[in-house]
Amino acid sequence: MSSADIYRELILDYYRNPRNYGKLEKFDIDARDTNPLCGDEIELQIRVGEGQKIEEIMFAGKGCAISQASVSMLTELAKGKPLDWVKEVSKEDVFKMLGNPDLGPSRVKCALLGMKVLKTGVYGYLGAHYDDPDGSDAMV
């Protein structure tokens, strides 16, 4: 797959016009992480509603098209879902959402940063600890 396929209209659109971008005035979850490899930075806030549902979700940050489009699309997917749904989200879901681009091992971390922040925040809120299986913390 060529880079023209990776940077499809969809990804460029979410990069330049991110959905759910900004900060919440009232929130129950606030998580932040960075990808030191390329300086991607994502902060994600959630207001939890009745029945432990994701009532509102916003992200702020900066970084490459893949990281920013990925987290933006993820917030759209997450809105209205129960918190437990976050536990079920897998990296395959994220790749599928992005149109299964052929990303190299270093760019995969860009694509998954949003999911990592989402899981870290929600797990913390539920009193658990999210242990990133890909260990992207270690990547500098």
């Binding site: 060529s2 023209a4 940077y7 460029l12 390329c38 300086g39 490459c64 098209a65 760019r107």
Partner: protein
Amino acid sequence: MLKTEVLDIEKVRSDFPILKRKIHGKRLVYLDNAATTQKPQAVIDSLVDYYSRYNSNVHRSVHTLGEEATAAYESARERTARFVGSYAKQLVFVRGTTEATNLVRFAWGETNVRKGDLIVTTMMEHHSNIVPWQLLAKSKGATLKFVGLHPDGTIDMGQLEDLLRQSPKLVAVTHCSNVLGTINDVAAICAKARSAGAITLVDGAQSVPHIPVDVGAVGSDFYAFSGHKMLGPTGIGALVAKKEILQEMEPFHGGGEMIKEVFLDHSTWNDVPYKFEAGTVNIADAIGLGAAVDYLSAIGMAKVREHEVALLDYAMQTLSQVKGYHAYGPSDSRMKGGVISFNLADVHPHDLATILDEEGIAIRSGHHCAQPLMNWLEVSATSRASFHVYNSYDDIDALKAGLQKAGAIFKI
């Protein structure tokens, strides 16, 4: 546009076997030399030769292999020292620039820096010339202050002089910025710092590989550089220091080789530079660095510099024609090492690097281990193209075409 052929580029390129490699079916255009350089066959051969003909430990064994390995290791020290205008007894082999700054932090800093002391560095430093001083300042209760930059990416000498009036203990500065390419007047900085009573350390990781360096003329107390950025192997570098200061300093690591005599309750230290080379040293890579020094000396560092200035001039003109291209740092090639940091409109450097990789072009994207400088530039990252002896005008034309392709994909 003027294309002066300073070097016999085809001959030089044929010395580097990796340049024959195809990346995604394209010719390799390697423009990530500020991160690490490729190795000429002569360096690769020197490693194979050591391991296959005279592998042995140094400074201990009296057998033939031991004598040969010791002679080769010490000869590499001698040639590397001479390459930067110094002497073998003043050159400590280390893993690289980062180990050199950390050696100074521990072996000099722990005894000489006290509570309330001031350490001065600049906004354009690599993390290896920031973090050791943060750690030292924290452990000693000292203060670390940063000299700011002018908009053109040069050091604000007025700010430096203000800080020198506060009598800092240490002034640590880079000779050449790994991001902006700025070549600092380190001789002037060291002279001013010395008058203010400060010890000086110069990070030469980006200067020794690219410009003629005479550490005596620089006049710093410490001068550090890395072998792998100057066509040598990874895992070897040098800390060059004045002999008196090395003699006064405490050891860095304790162990074999660095001692003169060991008793149960105390030990005495070996002579410099061996006092700082505990354990079995990196013999093979030191020999490899010697081979790299020979290779660069045969070309001549003045020629290397002239070649890179010609490439810089060509690149700055050529790339500025690309829509959305914006470069950082000095625009005068005489003030700049062979490195260009830039951004292309709103394309993130990491996305750009992915697109260029598909064309066989290797550039660096990110913060270049210089996050304070990125904040000063008000960017999260930049793309960086950096040159060495084997880069050609064709490489720059390829980069321009790659940037244009990225611009088309991102609809700039």
